[in-house]
Subunit: 105 residues, 2 copies
């Protein structure tokens, strides 16, 4: 049975553990993930997820997180949002993301 791709929601699989760890090892990206985890529905507009860097740099980090399968891009009401794929990452590597997020800052 084929997946219905007509919605173009294209959710990529969570990457190798190595890639997930590398994605989370950067301070800017870990902060983004932490803010997402604190947000309603683990979803937030891009601009709320970073400070002190240019938006092109932020966009680069979003891409890195997405390619690792840690986040997903979605458009709601014309605005681009990022969503933390908590369940998918948990499914692939149980405890990894949640233990990191519950660690002291």
């Amino acid at each position: 049975m084929e997946a219905d791709l007509s919605k173009s929601s294209e959710l990529i699989p969570v990457g190798p553990l190595q890639q997930v760890l590398a994605a989370l090892a950067d301070p800017v990206r870990l902060e983004m993930v932490r803010r997402l985890a604190d947000a309603e529905d683990s979803t937030a507009a891009c601009s709320l997820l970073y400070d002190g860097i240019g938006k092109s740099t932020a966009s680069h980090h979003f891409k890195t997180l997405r390619e690792a399968g840690v986040t997903q891009r979605l458009v709601e009401e014309g605005q681009t949002h990022q969503r933390l794929r908590t369940d998918d990452v948990e499914g692939a590597y149980p405890g990894v993301l949640t233990s990191i997020l519950s660690s002291p800052r």
Copy 2:
């Protein structure tokens, strides 16, 4: 009460989560940590912990792991060994190391 430093065992504290994640995000180092976890007493001679790289490179990775507080160097019977500081890392960031180690390779 002062700690007794006369034994020169100098155990540094586990580093910031960022540093621990960065240490584990490298494929060579993660493999080293996995082999340590599988070893008796979580301890092994350096040469058993890597393949396919020069020993100077390996030494560099050992240093990175040690400075993150993930491993400890000890000398047993004249041979240098690395020991995984499982309990210390668990104490600092509960679940992080163990969930990574129990993740599929």
